[in-house]
Symmetry: C2
DNA sequence: ACCATAAAAATTGTTCAACAATTCGACAAG
DNA sequence: CTTGTCGAATTGTTGAACAATTTTTATGGT
């Protein structure tokens, strides 16, 4: 007979389903997904009345959810006017890429842990496979995972979270671009090459390669990005 | 465990100034200041009833403020138990210094703008002056400004904000250390040396110097940091 | 038709009171 | 020493109310 030494082992995560997050966080999750997937495009006003009724939560609870997403920069609060799905300016995009150069650049310059390397590799192969099947949305997803994995090389939970928020914010831009293919295709191959440099331990080269990579990505994105402007 | 009985002391009159931002943000500002200054030390529970009455705002509004500060990691939400001033673990501190090495390191490696350089210089001289007068709290403040100014070298609003939050979080640790002098004194001179390297355009050297600087600062901080633990 | 402007409607900002759900301490029983 | 139970305290969430502000509509003069 097998004697269980520790009856508690492996039970830690299970409670996340039982004692679920607060209603406000649940609502925030739902809205975040809608925004990231482009169902709620930038500029959309989120009316408290409509949404609280649709989701069957009180206005107060919904407003707590709005605060959360506002802090993640997915929503914009305009006093006495309401909350809107954020519209990124060209300056915002430039700043996001500045941040990426810093925290991804730091990542690739570190000696990688095996686990992180595996995650990067998987993202690369996923992107290659998706590209073969002309599924450019999937390529975009794999590409996100690739860069997220690069940041994990820093071994910093806070940087990981920053990157998650940053990528979510970037989706606000990606989705308004019509041509997903031209946005993602050029980088499938470059991801593979960057991976090679990392695996070869050529850290400084990888860093410089990544920087020009991100320069190009930024240019490509800004080249024909003309966001709607809020009228005041 | 140190439970501070009266988290409300001195909070009654504060809401006097006229509301530019929303009430929730005003409340968040007040609480943030109290937390950063150590008036509300880590572990303090913030009771909704008490505080909403002391500040003359509704519980709903107060809860919106709690969400904001929770997202800044100054407060910790524990479901059905309440919100508490955050207690940083040693792992948290280590992570904060990991982030600092990344974003400050990137800063010093860039060619500085004149404005940013001036800000750094001013912080250095302020720290020197305060040290001469044995005002170690002022030294700590000047030191914060020094590192904040280093981050501005990146020319990224988002990194600036991240650094602001990061330094606020670190104050949670600084304030529980009894000896402010031993915490700040060693770095007054090193700030000056780092400034010299930056002004001399020796970017890579400055980067390495900063990294060992931060290594030492982290060790000094962790060396006798034993946070109270939350009991679950 | 044009435009200023006043009235009306809609929407957000904030408060309040209520109640359910959960935690916590004390105390009793096994 | 563990387990169970009661009750008080606290948080989670709701719904309604009202003020402040913005947006829309209606109005009237030129």
């Amino acid at each position: 007979m097998v004697t269980v030494r520790n009856a508690v082992a492996g039970l830690e995560g299970v409670r996340s389903r039982i004692g679920r997050a607060s209603v406000a966080e649940e609502v925030a999750d739902v809205l975040r997904e809608r925004i990231i997937e482009g169902v709620l495009p930038p500029g959309t006003q989120l009316l408290e009345g409509e949404i609280s009724e649709a989701l069957q939560v009180s206005r107060n609870t919904l407003r707590e959810a709005f605060r959360l997403l506002g802090h993640e920069r997915l929503l914009e609060h305009r006093r006495n006017k309401g909350v809107f799905v954020r519209i990124l300016s060209a300056a915002d995009v430039a700043d996001l890429y500045r941040v990426r150069r810093v925290i991804e650049g730091a990542g690739v310059r570190r000696t990688p842990s095996p686990a992180a390397l595996a995650a990067i590799r998987e993202a690369v192969t996923d992107a290659l496979r998706a590209a073969e099947q002309d599924d450019w949305t999937a390529v975009g997803t794999a590409n996100s995972r690739f860069h997220q994995a690069i940041v994990t090389l820093n071994q910093s939970p806070r940087l990981d979270e920053s990157m998650r928020h940053l990528l979510a914010e970037l989706r606000l831009v990606f989705h308004v671009m019509k041509n997903q293919r031209s946005l993602h295709e050029p980088f499938v191959e470059r991801n593979r090459e960057l991976l090679d440099l990392i695996e070869a331990g050529r850290a400084e080269e990888a860093g410089r390669y990544l920087e020009s990579y991100l320069d190009d990505a930024e240019k490509l994105l800004l080249q024909d990005y003309e966001p709607e402007r809020f009228r005041d």
